[in-house]
Subunit: 351 residues, 4 copies
C-alpha cells in the first residue's frame, strides 16, 4: 500500500528532488536489498491466541510509545511539501509517532517545537567541522524540548549518489536551512558541497562527549556490525540505530535485516536497538521487533506521503503502517508487541 | 494443466469476484511462495518397481479415501457458478473427493446434504462472536451427516487483501448466506465487515470444547509451526491442516511446503496432518505425502473449474490432479500412495 | 553454439514434431533444471600443465572410445530428417561416437546395422508387455552387432507431456515403426497409446534376466538415486545411466547434475556410470566426467542437428561438443580426460 | 559510473572490435558471474573512525603504489584509440597507476617506454612456441625498464569466443603487432590463428626458469585454485593474479571473487596476491583488498575509457574507480587501505 504513495509521489515531484529522495549510492544494490532482505525472514505465526485486544506499544529510551513506527530523520521536507517539517511533525503527532528532525531540516528545531509543541521529538545531529555550530544546535534542541539526540555516525563523507549527479540536483535555498545559518554556505549548492560542513574526523570519544554533556540520551545511528554496537554502548550511547542510511552511503554493505540480529545479540539488552531501511509493511515491523528491535524508523515512505498529500499524506502513511502492524500482531498471535521474540521468525528456505 | 483453468477463469469472471478468489494479503508474496516452495523439494524416484497396479488411496481420520485430493473450504461458490456449492459437491462426489463446506457457503449445510447426500462431507467452522449461531451451525452439520469439523484457526481478524480494496469488492447478497441468517448482517457488505462476526478471542480451550462436544473429529486448519501442532493434538484435535489460508491472511509467513516437515515430525503420528497451499500438480501431492501429509486440500483450482465449467469443470480439475498424482506414483516407483515416505524427496540444490 | 541448432531447428520443423522433441513433462521445470544444474558446479582449472597433446578418450564397458560424447537413444528420427536413424548413425560414425538406437526408431536395428555397419552401436530397449516381441528385439540386436543393451527403466508409464496434448501430436506412421511390426498397433496413434505396449510391471528380476541371457552388457538407463544404482549393479548391470529421460517423464525429480555425485559414490567403481540431461557445452561434459561419469549421452542437440542439416548437421553437433570438450580439457589443465576427478569441480557459491 | 563508459563505448565502436573486447567464452556465464560474484560479499563498515585523512596506497612487489587500481594487460589498444597503448600508459601515469603492457600490444614495449618513460610499467608475457621470440621480448622488457613480468598461465589454447566467430572478427594488421615481428604471421588473421604462436606445453618449470633468469619479479596470472597458487610460489613467483582471463577462456570456472579467499589463505603471505575480473566499483576494490588482495587489475573499463575519450577517457575511468575506492574506505571506516582485513566482509545472506 505504501508502494502506491511511492508511485504517486514520483508522478508529482520534479525529477531532481524526487531522485534526491529516492536514490541510493552506487548501483543502488543496498537500496534494493534493504527491502528484499526482510523477505529473507519468515514469520512463524501462532494460532488460537486471544487477540481481541492488542497493544502495539513499545518502550524506547525508557518511554512508552503507542507503537514502534517512528519518523526517520530525512533532509529538506520543503522539497516535498510547502510546510516542510511542520507538516511532518503534525502527521507524527496525529499518528502517535516520534518526529526525528534532521540537522538538514528546512524548518528550524526551535520553530518546529513552537509550531507543533505536543509532538514527541528527537533531534538528529550531524557534527560540523565548526563545533561551535554543533554546540548551538544541541543547545537549541535541548532548549526546545527534544528528548533525544540521534547522532548520525555513517556520514563522515557523502556517499556517491549518481542520480543527483545525473539530474544536476542542487539545493536552491541551501543558505536558508536554519542549521546552516551562520555557516557561510552559498545560496545554491550541491549536496556534496553542503556535506562538506560535516566533520569526517568524528570518533567514539565525540560520542562519549555528547552522551555526557547534552543531558539527553544519545542514539548512534548508522551501526551495522556488533563490534560497533558494543563500542557505542561502552561509550555511553543509550541506543543504536541499525542503519545503512537508506542505501545512500556505501553501496554493498549489509542490508539492515541482515545486520540486525547480530547487533541485538551483542548489545544484550544494555541499550535499545532500533532499525531502519526497507521497512514497507507491517510484517516488516513485526520481523524487526521479533529480531529484537525496539522500534523502526521510516524515511522515504513518509516523504512520499508528504509529496502526495502534505500532512494528511504523511499521516496516512504512518497510520497505514501501524494498522498493518496491528493486523500482523493479531495474525501472528502476538496480541502485545512485547510478546514478540525470535521464535516468531525463521530464515526463509530458499527453494 | 490446472494453470489453464486459472487463465480461463480470469477471462470469464468479473474482476471483483475474480480478485476476491485469486488475491492474497499484502504484497502477495506468500501467495506466490506457496506455489514455488513445492519446487524447493526434489522427487527421488525409484525404478523397476512393478507399478502396473496403483493405489492412490489414503486414510484420513481413520477412513479410507480413494485418493488424497480434497476440496478445500472456500467461500461463496455462487460467485463462480449459479449452483454454488451444490455443483462443487457433485464434482467432489464424482471425483471421489471430500467436500469441505465453508461456513461462508452460499448453500446451507443442510441443503447441500439434501441435494448431494452421497458426497463425503466435512464442515469448516468459523466461530462467531455470537456462540449461539456457532452452536447452531455445528448442530446442523452433525444432523446433516458432516463427518468432521474443520476449525479455521488463522482468521481471528481478516488479512489485508488489497485487491478487494482496489476493486471495491462487496458481497451483494451477504444476508443470503445461510450461516449468517439471523445474525443481522446487512444486505451489501465488504468482506472485512462480514468477518467482524468471527470471534478474535478464540483459544485452545475452545478447540478442546469443540473436540469434546460435537461428537465429530476436529481438524485445526491454519497451523504453521510445530508448537501449535502439538498443542492442537494435546487439546483433542484429530488432525491439523498446515495452511496459511492460501496466502490471504498474513503475508510473509512460512510457505506451507516449508512448514510441513517440522509439523509432521512434532505430531509424530498422534494425529493426521493435512496441507493446503500452492498444490497445482500431481507431483506436489506426491511431495506432500512423502513429507508426511495424509491428504491435501485444493482451493482456488476448484473455483477456477467451477467458473469455467460449473460442476463439470470442478470435476475435471479434481480428476486431472488425481490422474497426475497417479502418474507421479507410477513414475516415482511408489505404486501405493502409502509407500511414500521421506526417502522420496530431498531439498533442491540451488545452483 | 548448440543453442543455434536449437533455434534453427525450431524454425524449420512443424510444431507437432518439434514440440514432441523439445518438450518435457508437466511444467517443464526438470527440463530447464537439467540445463541449469550444470551451472551449479564450477570448474577448478589447473594451469601450467603441458596440454600440447590431449586425449579426450574414455573407457566405457571395457572398451576404449575416442571421446565421451555418445548419441542418446531418441525416438522417430524420420520426424527430423528423411533418412532417420541412418543419418544419425553415419554422423555418429564420422564423429567417433556411439549410436544408441531407440526401440522406437524409424529404421530397424538390422537395417541400420546393414546400412552403417562400421558404427559402434548400442540398442535401447523398452520391454513390451508382449515379451515375445521384446525377445525378438534383443535377438535382432545381438544378431546385428549391437554391443550393449540400454534398458530404459524410467518409463513404466508415459510422462504427461502437455505440448503433445496441445499440439495434438500423433504418430502418422506408427505401424511402420519396425519394432512395432507385428504388435498390431494402428496406423495413427498418440504417444500415450503407443507406449501402452511398454510393460509397467518390469522389475529388478527382469533386469537380472536380461543381463544374464542376452550375452550383452546391460546399462540401466533412468536411475537417479544411489539406492537404485546399487540395486542395478547387484542385479548384474554393467552400468547405469543417470537420467530423468530429458525431463519428459516425472517433472520435479532431481536434475541429473544434482543426482550424479551420489550415484557415482555408491557405485564405487563396480560399474560404469553415464549421464544425460542438459549437456549443452564441452564444459558440461568436463563436469560430468569430473564428477565420475565415464561418458555422457546427448539427445535433443543431435535431433536439432538432424533437423537442420541431416547427417551433416548431426555430425556438426557432435564434433562441436567434442571440440569444446577438448578445449575445456586444455584450459582446465587435464590433457587426458582420464585425469579428471572431483578436484576439478566445486559447488558454485551463490551470491 | 563505469557502466556509462561501457554503454558509450558500445555505441562508438564497430561491432567486431567491440565484441572482441566485450565478449567472453561460451555462454559468457563466467563473464557475468565475475561481476555478480562481488555482490556475494557484503561490506561490514565501521563507524566513528577518524577518516579525515585517507591513504589508498598499497604495496605490491615491495613497492609502494598510491592506490591499488592497476591497468590489466589487454590486447590491441589501437582498436580502441589511434594512439593505442601510448594513450593508456599516459592515462595510467596521470592516474598514478601501473601500466601492464600486453604481449599483443599494438605499440612495442620499447616504443612505449620511450614515449611514456615515467609510467610504472609491467610486461605481460605470452610464451611463444618459438622461445627465441619470447627471449627477445623479455630482454626488450628488461632493457626498457619494465619492472615485472606478468606471465599469463591460462592461455595454453584460446578460449571459444563466439562473438568473434559471429562477427567474423579478424585482426587487419596482425603482422604489424610489434611482438609478432619476425614470427612470420600473415597480415590478416583471426585471434585463433594468432594465438597459435603461444606454446601450449608451458609448465611450472618454465615459470621457474623465467623467475630465475629475467632478473624481474614474475607474477603468474590466471590462477584460480590454491594448489596452483602454492605451486607458483614454490616455483619462484613473486605473486599470483587470481584471474579467469575476464571470462574469455573457459566458461564455467570459478568467478574470481569466489576463488580469491582460498588462494590468499594458501599463499599465506609468501607472495603477493592480485585479482582481476568484474571489478566495476570502488566497493569491489575494497572487497578484494579485504579478502587479501594487494591490488586489482582493471581491463575492459579502461578499454571503454579509451574508446570513449582516448587518454582522457582512460584516465577518467581510473580516477573514478580510485575516487570510489577512497570514498569506500572513508565510509567503511578504514582510512588506510592497509587497514582492510577479512573483518570488513562477510558472505551475503541470500533472502
Amino acid at each position: 500500500m505504501l508502494a502506491e504513495f511511492e508511485r504517486l509521489a514520483e508522478a508529482r515531484m520534479a525529477p531532481g528532488p524526487h531522485g534526491f529522495f529516492a536514490g541510493g549510492a552506487g548501483d543502488e544494490a543496498t537500496l534494493a536489498e534493504n527491502v528484499t532482505a526482510w523477505r529473507g525472514w519468515r514469520i512463524r505465526p501462532r494460532v488460537l491466541v486471544d487477540v481481541a485486544t492488542r497493544d502495539t506499544g513499545t518502550t524506547v529510551l525508557g518511554q512508552r510509545l503507542p507503537h514502534p513506527v517512528l519518523v526517520a530523520p530525512t533532509a529538506f521536507h520543503r522539497l516535498a511539501t510547502p510546510d516542510g517539517e511542520v507538516a511532518t511533525a503534525r502527521a507524527a503527532l496525529a499518528a502517535g509517532s516520534v518526529m526525528c528532525l534532521s540537522t538538514f531540516s528546512t524548518v528550524g528545531a526551535a520553530e518546529l517545537a513552537a509550531q507543533v509543541p505536543e509532538v514527541r521529538r528527537w533531534f538528529q545531529l550531524y557534527v560540523f567541522r565548526d563545533r561551535g555550530i554543533t554546540a548551538a544546535l544541541v543547545d537549541a534542541a535541548v532548549a526546545s524540548g527534544y528528548e533525544a539526540l540521534v547522532l548520525t555516525v555513517d556520514l563522515p563523507v557523502l556517499g556517491l549518489r549518481e542520480r543527483d549527479l545525473r539530474s544536476g540536483f542542487v539545493l536552491e535555498e541551501a543558505a536558508a536551512i536554519p542549521s546552516l545559518a551562520g555557516s557561510g554556505v552559498p545560496r545554491r549548492m550541491t549536496l556534496a558541497e553542503l556535506t562538506e560542513v560535516v566533520d569526517p574526523s568524528l570518533t567514539w570519544a565525540d560520542l562519549e562527549r555528547f552522551a555526557g554533556q547534552s543531558g539527553l540520551p544519545v542514539l548512534a545511528k548508522g551501526v551495522l556490525v556488533p563490534e560497533d554496537a558494543e563500542r557505542a554502548v561502552d561509550h555511553g550511547a543509550a541506543g543504536v540505530v541499525v542503519s545503512n542510511h537508506g542505501g545512500r552511503q556505501l553501496d554493498g554493505v549489509l542490508a539492515t535485516a541482515e545486520a540486525l540480529p547480530a547487533v541485538v545479540d551483542r548489545v544484550g539488552g544494555r541499550a535499545d536497538v532500533l532499525v531502519d531501511g526497507g521497512i514497507r509493511r507491517g510484517g516488516d515491523v513485526l520481523k524487526a521487533l521479533a529480531l529484537g528491535a525496539r522500534a523502526v524508523l521510516v524515511g522515504r515512505p513518509v516523504l512520499w506521503g508528504l509529496a502526495v498529500g502534505g500532512e494528511a499524506g504523511a499521516r496516512q502513511v504512518l497510520d497505514l503502517l501501524v494498522a498493518e502492524f496491528d493486523n500482523a500482531l493479531a495474525l501472528a498471535g502476538a496480541p502485545r508487541a512485547a510478546d514478540l521474540d525470535r521464535s516468531f521468525v525463521q530464515p526463509a528456505r530458499r527453494g
